[in-house]
């Protein structure tokens, strides 16, 4: 018979067990300073460098590398789960530019300046500043990803546009002309799906309109209708309302739009595309129908050329790493200029790391361009040196993921018409204010 007493007894027993297990500290083994003769696990959202390169590293340092490729979303889940459960899963892993604020506050990663000469590195890697927070360098950027405008020059030419637009007003007019001439029905690609790609697109557009998103203390700078962020949001939502953007795009994410629209010649331009896409997507015959038609355009800004927002990928050492010193050696090797150039294809296909196109080291980029192996190289290198800027000059705030979610869900709602731009901006600003004041 199930008496109340036996239920109570069972519940009590479970409580005791729960407390006992919760009381156990995590299987925390002390980190070792050993470097030679160990095997480290590297978990990144990218395929590994060629076996020969890793073997050379092992030969040089005695460190074996166990590479795990996990998709970016799942990797962020794993990083959070492992850190929360205080469990080891890798010696070196992904540090995303957008997570730097959060990771720094959580102290989940070792400060890289104790392992690597970050001062010297800063001169060679313009994007290192995005990875510095509170005086500590949380990770080392291993690529130089940034947002850039891409245009299909063939489609522009077909519409009779002979010179490329230099301001956003000219850009918008050109798109309208392309539509009016019937070259393509919807010339502009904006990924309005409620996902991260929409947020970064808005940051890039805001930068083109000439302003920042947040100030140093995290307060929103886009609340007034004359502010760049507001105008950018308006521009984006108007574009879909006026038929410059395919109506189906309310549910198209960034990579989806680039692959199914831009790479198929269904649109003429993507304002906030990813650097390297020309080489990795648009000029690859097995993925694209518009080979040799797409090129990078310096950002059409308010009064002339505008900046490019950088969104680099970084690598860092989680606190639960078993061999932090060995991991640091690996990171140094991985981000060395010469190796980066190899991975990007400067010295032949056998040294290529799949999916890697833009070295974060200026020297690596120089070698690549010099050897003529960077598609869109001179343009990209120029943009990287002169106009690539961090999205948040003071570093991404620790509450970035929640803020970004407010951005993309509200902009998405504005695009579907269920919310006005003003209401969407207000919702985003309210969220930013409440997060910045720590409630």
């Amino acid at each position: 018979m199930t008496s109340i007493r036996s239920v109570r007894a069972a519940a009590a027993g479970i409580c005791v067990l729960t407390v006992a297990v919760a009381g156990c500290s995590g299987g925390g083994s002390k980190a070792s300073t050993k470097t030679s003769g160990v095997t480290i696990t590297v978990a990144l959202a990218t395929p590994p460098p060629p076996k020969a390169a890793l073997a050379a590293f092992t030969k040089q340092t005695g460190i074996k590398v166990n590479w795990t490729n996990i998709d970016w979303d799942s990797l962020q889940t794993k990083i959070a789960a492992a850190a929360t459960a205080k469990t080891y899963f890798a010696d070196a892993t992904d540090v995303d530019w957008s997570r730097v604020g959060q990771l720094a506050k959580l102290n989940w990663f070792y400060p890289m300046e104790s392992y690597v000469d970050t001062k010297a590195l800063a001169k060679q890697m313009p994007q290192l500043s995005s990875f510095t927070n509170g005086g500590h360098v949380i990770g080392i950027p291993y690529d130089a990803s940034f947002l850039v405008t891409t245009v299909n020059k063939n489609l522009f030419a077909k519409a009779g546009i002979t010179t490329m637009p230099k301001t956003i007003a000219q850009y918008t007019d050109d798109l309208k002309q392309i539509k009016a001439k019937g070259v393509v029905q919807y010339p502009l690609n904006i990924p309005f799906a409620a996902a991260e790609g929409l947020s970064t697109y808005w940051y890039q557009t805001t930068a083109a309109f000439g302003g920042p998103i947040l100030d140093g203390s995290g307060k929103p700078q886009f609340t007034s209708p004359s502010s760049p962020g507001y105008k950018a949001a308006e521009w984006m939502v108007d574009a879909i309302k006026q038929g410059l953007v395919p109506p189906g795009n309310i549910n198209v994410a960034d990579t989806q739009g680039q692959q199914t629209l831009m790479a198929k010649g269904n649109v003429a331009s993507t304002f906030g595309d990813y650097s390297g896409n020309v080489g990795s997507l648009y000029d690859v015959p097995s993925s694209s129908s518009v080979v040799n038609q797409v090129e990078y355009l310096p950002t059409p800004g308010v009064n002339g050329v505008g900046p490019n927002m950088s969104n680099p990928d970084g690598i860092g050492i989680p606190r639960q790493a078993k061999y932090p010193n060995a991991a640091a050696k690996f990171i140094q090797w991985f981000t060395q200029a010469g190796n980066q150039a190899d991975f990007a294809g400067a010295n032949g296909p056998s040294k290529v790391m799949p999916g890697y196109f833009l070295p974060s080291q200026l020297a690596g980029l120089a070698e690549l361009t010099q050897k003529g192996k960077l598609i869109g190289g001179a343009e990209l290198a120029h943009l990287l040196k002169t106009s690539a800027k961090p999205v948040f000059p003071q570093g991404a705030p620790s509450w970035y993921p929640e803020f970004s979610r407010a951005v993309y869900t509200n902009l998405h709602a504005a695009a579907t018409g269920s919310m006005s731009v003003g209401a969407a901006i207000k919702a985003i600003a309210d969220q930013a204010n409440s997060l910045a004041s720590g409630s």
């Binding site: 166990n66 889940t77 080891y88 890798a90 990579t255 680039q258 198929k264 097995s286 993925s287």
Partner: protein
């Protein structure tokens, strides 16, 4: 009368086939194309230039992708197979006890077991991760199988309990009268009658295990234990999603249970579909 019945059944069969196969055909279709050919407007209903390129990138050669895919296929087999066997054995024993015996705490335990099905995966993810880490079972087959078994036991027990309690008691009672001990009754009389329930439980458990993603993502750290599902997700790149490659991976991942089902066809038919109507 029978003609009407079989006509209805024919429609039913067509619906089943269409329901399953249309999206799967689309997957196969995509897997035989290049990324430049998919997302065409209008869509290509048949691959314009069919190629096995995606499958060979996935499976053959020494590159990092094929090696990982092959290793993870081995991993998923071991993990799903072990989990299925352990689950079915433990569930059968327990279900018999619940169905045919009385003992103190029987109802409480039974309800408690079923109630654990109501907990969402995210609830137990971090605590289980910590427990496995405390016992150094992270990134081991054992750890993953233990977590799987704990997750699938409730449903398996429920199905088998159902099955066993619906079996005619007369046969078991006859066995007991003949002097057979209870374990002998279980082994020689009840289990053969329960084979359809056992086989369907095994199939269901195996398929549940096959589809797992979140738990192995967190509990396995590298190639040595990552199952195929996690590796397939990793094929999504940061800035490009190779749709045709992923479709090929999907076809591969579902072909395996399909091939097993086909190979074990005879046993499934005689086992699952025999019924106890004797």
């Amino acid at each position: 009368m029978f003609r009407k019945r079989s006509w209805g059944r024919r429609i039913g069969i067509l619906v089943i086939l269409g329901w399953s196969l249309v999206p799967l055909y689309w997957t196969l279709n995509t897997s035989l194309q290049n990324d430049s050919q998919i997302s065409a407007k209008p869509a290509h209903y048949v691959p314009p230039t069919p190629t096995l390129h995606n499958f060979s990138s996935l499976l053959s050669g020494d590159g990092s992708i094929p090696t990982t895919v092959r290793q993870s296929t081995v991993n998923i087999f071991i993990e799903c197979g072990a989990a299925t066997i352990v689950t079915v054995v433990l569930a059968t024993l327990a279900a018999y006890a619940f169905a045919r015996m009385t003992f103190r705490g029987r109802k409480l335990l039974f309800y408690a077991v079923l109630a654990t099905m109501a907990f969402p995966a995210y609830t137990t993810l971090i605590p289980l991760y910590r427990i496995m880490s405390d016992f150094s079972l992270v990134n081991t087959y054992t750890g993953i199988v233990l977590v799987y078994v704990s997750g699938f036991l409730p449903l398996a027990t429920w199905i088998l309990h159902n099955y066993m309690s619906s079996l005619p008691k007369s046969i078991e009672e006859a066995g007991a009268v003949d002097g057979a001990g209870r374990m002998q009754v279980l082994w020689h009389i009840v289990m053969p009658l329960a084979i359809p329930g056992i086989i369907s439980t095994a199939i269901i458990t195996f398929l549940f295990a096959w589809a797992q993603f979140l738990f192995p993502l967190v509990l396995s750290s590298d190639d040595s234990t990552q199952p195929l599902t996690v590796v397939i997700a990793a094929l999504q790149g940061r800035h490009t999603v190779p749709l045709s490659l992923l479709s090929a991976a999907g076809v591969f991942a579902l072909a395996i249970p399909a091939v097993i089902a086909f190979a074990l066809n005879r046993y499934i038919v005689s086992g699952l579909l025999s019924g106890s109507a004797k």
